[in-house]
């Protein structure tokens, strides 16, 4: 089984999409940058640059999103890359007003097959405008598909599926996952949009976690296992379309739910997933749902406030114990993945 890290899995998806389909091109800030994040653009320039299919554009986020939409309407399969979601925010008009509406407003006559890739860059003392995780904005808007891979396998398979899809897809990856290694088939494959994945089976509690929170949920599950609590971890992988049935069937089994998102709490992804569960499988719930998210505050820069700001596995452990009715407060020290010890 060939292993690859998350960043290079995205890179491999790019190469294979471009090799198979002349309509695919990449327009992304920094793709010609030698120290580009996670090596996700490695080798694209030398292979596809001469044909004009790799473009490092001027700093014009909204305009470039429009260019990508226009190319998609005219028959191409473009991918655009915004190295931080904060900068993607400057291009929201074209995504929310245009790409999302094109299929519906014209009566289903026109597809807009394009991928908007945005990257989360939390921590590292980067502060309020280099750290945001705004996936909830895109999940809110009808007409956009939204995917957030947590594993190298999904990073490649979801990117290929996003490129193949006839609709605009917002693909959000997280820098904190780039070094994660895992099984990635060498061949071209897709992970279907709208299909959740059971990361780990368990009977006591359902942890619904997305993106980087899946990794924290896995750490939490190992700790909780020592206490005899068996966690089931569900990774939706796609926020839109959302695999309701997969999540609901797990909730019916466990009756306890913790929802983990790397974005803000209020009106966020975890709130929406919680509402879906309450509306549909309320009778299965044995306790209220708890959310583990960012607090409702912008990101700080200094590492001390970052420690207090970003959720860790310990927060998930606490939440699980609470929904499962544990009386004792947890006693664990956890090394979080940003290298800072949280206890």
């Amino acid at each position: 089984m060939r292993k690859l890290n998350y960043g290079l899995a995205i890179n491999e998806a790019f190469h294979q999409c471009m090799e198979r389909d002349d309509r695919v091109f990449i327009l992304g800030q920094g793709v010609l940058n030698p120290w580009y994040v996670g090596e996700t653009a490695r080798g694209l320039d030398t292979k596809y640059g001469p044909s004009g299919r790799v473009i490092d554009p001027p700093v014009s986020e909204n305009g470039m999103n429009g260019v990508v939409i226009g190319a998609a309407l005219a028959g191409m399969r473009p991918i655009t890359i915004h190295p931080r979601l904060d900068f993607l925010n400057m291009g929201l008009e074209q995504i929310i007003n245009e790409a999302s509406n094109w299929a519906y407003a014209f009566g289903g006559q026109q597809s807009c097959p394009c991928v908007f890739r945005g990257i989360i860059n939390r921590g590292g003392e980067q502060g309020a405008q280099h750290s945001q995780a705004t996936q909830a904005l895109f999940m809110h808007v009808p007409g956009l598909k939204v995917v957030m891979p947590a594993t190298p396998y999904d990073a490649k398979g979801l990117m290929i599926a996003a490129v193949e899809d006839d609709n605009p897809v917002v693909y959000i990856d997280d820098r904190w996952l780039y070094a994660e290694e895992g099984y990635v088939p060498e061949e071209y494959y897709t992970v279907p949009l709208g299909k959740a994945n059971t990361i780990k089976a368990g009977k006591d509690v359902t942890i619904v976690a997305i993106s980087y929170m899946v990794k924290l949920a896995q750490e939490a599950a190992m700790i909780l296992a020592q206490d005899g609590i068996e966690c089931e971890i569900i990774d939706p992988r796609s926020l839109t379309p959302f695999d309701d049935d997969h999540v609901f069937s797990s909730v019916k089994k466990t009756g306890h739910v913790v929802v983990c998102d790397s974005g803000w709490k209020t009106a966020g992804v975890a709130a929406e997933i919680s509402a879906k569960i309450v509306e549909n499988v309320f009778d299965s719930l044995k306790a209220p749902i708890l959310r583990v998210t960012l607090p409702d505050a912008p990101a700080p820069s200094n590492k001390y406030e970052e420690l207090a700001y970003y959720p860790t596995a310990r927060h998930i452990v606490d939440a699980v114990k609470k929904v499962c009715g544990a009386k004792q407060a947890p006693q664990f020290a956890v090394a979080s993945s940003n290298g800072v010890s949280a206890s």
Binding site: P58, A71, A105, G107, P142, N167, L193
Partner: protein, 345 residues
């Protein structure tokens, strides 16, 4: 206001020779298209007054020469991109009257299945892949289509129509810069009607010369008399040839004026946001009357033949209304259809 009559007078003689080089068939074709748009819009205005059309309509009356001249220079596979005021673009590019009139009545037979209304027009067969009312939004989208043509190695061109207000959006300059940088087969048609909704250009800019805004971008940039269809056609033809040759984009500022108000059938004089004398000065330059005067005086046609054409077009308009009235309304049960192509999953 810009667009001085001196400019028109100075080109008057030249215009006759340009008309001769175009020939009778082309001239009559241009005239027919102008009339089709005008009479369609005037009927739409009546239906708005009668509340038979309820979707917000931004009428093109007065600006017909711009769409007509530009689209005459295009072929079917060239793509055009419109805005909230795009009835004229739709008809000029070859769209049939029935499908757009049905869309204004929001009928299931409309060009956007009754889903779009006046501001969301669509017709793939004529190279019109969608108009939207967000100001300047289709300018970069048009540039993206031009990039697609370049990557696909076709020699199709892409044309974005937008108003003077759109030049105030940041995205306008983003699109201009990218198109110039990559020498894309793109034509920017700025229909400067000197009003953005209720606000005159002079209250929004220190210059009225919009073609100068892009001069620093190594782009061919010209100002055209948007009330003169022959000039619009000539300059558009040059721009199309430049784009097809691979010599990059062109910016055309077409000075024009809308005879009606920003939205709806009225002229906005009643609410005090337009000057009656200025409006009249532009009505005196009516693009249709100008062309008809030339056609008759130079012997291309007669007043009687023009009257026959008018009646034929009126019949086409009446047919489109009849078709729209007899068309089914959309079935409300389909309201959640087409949020995604291929269904929700």
């Amino acid at each position: 206001m810009g667009g001085s009559t001196e400019l028109l007078m100075s080109t008057d003689i030249d215009l006759k020779s340009r008309a001769r080089s175009l020939g009778k068939e082309t001239l009559l074709g241009l005239h027919l298209q102008l009339i089709r748009i005008r009479l369609f819009e005037e009927r739409a205005a009546e239906l708005l007054e009668a509340k038979e059309i309820n979707t917000a309509c931004h009428l093109y009356i007065g600006q017909e020469a711009v769409a007509t001249g530009v689209c005459k220079a295009l072929r079917n596979t060239d793509l055009i991109w419109g805005n909230h005021r795009s009835h004229g673009h739709y008809l000029a590019k070859g769209g049939d009257m029935r499908s757009i009139m049905a869309e204004l009545l929001c009928k299931a037979t409309g060009c956007a299945k009754g889903r779009g209304g006046s501001m969301h027009l669509y017709n793939k067969e004529i190279g019109m892949l969608g108009t939207v009312p967000m100001v300047a939004a289709t300018i970069p989208i048009g540039v993206g289509a031009a990039l697609a043509a370049k990557l696909k190695k076709t020699d199709d061109v892409s044309v974005a129509f937008f108003g003077d207000g759109a030049t105030e959006e940041g995205i306008f300059f983003e699109a201009i810069n990218f198109a110039a940088l990559h020498k894309l087969p793109m034509i920017f048609v700025c229909e400067n009607n000197y009003m953005s909704s209720h606000l005159p250009l002079t209250d929004r800019r220190t210059t009225e010369k919009l073609f100068e805004l892009v001069a620093m971008n190594s782009m061919h940039s010209i100002r055209a008399d948007g009330m003169n269809v022959i000039e619009m056609y000539d300059l558009s033809t040059e721009a199309v040839e430049r784009a097809r040759r691979g010599d990059g984009p062109t910016f055309i500022e077409a000075e024009t004026y809308r005879f009606r108000g920003h939205v709806g059938p009225k002229d906005d004089l009643d609410v005090g946001i337009r000057d009656r004398d200025i409006l009249q000065s532009w009505i005196d330059r009516d693009p249709i009357l100008q062309l008809e005067s030339l056609l008759v005086s130079e012997g291309y046609t007669t007043a009687a033949k023009l009257e026959t054409i008018r009646k034929q077009v009126l019949a086409e308009v009446a047919d489109s209304v009849e078709f729209a009235r007899n068309s089914p309304d959309p079935d409300g049960s389909g309201v959640l259809d087409h949020v995604f192509i291929g269904g929700a999953k």
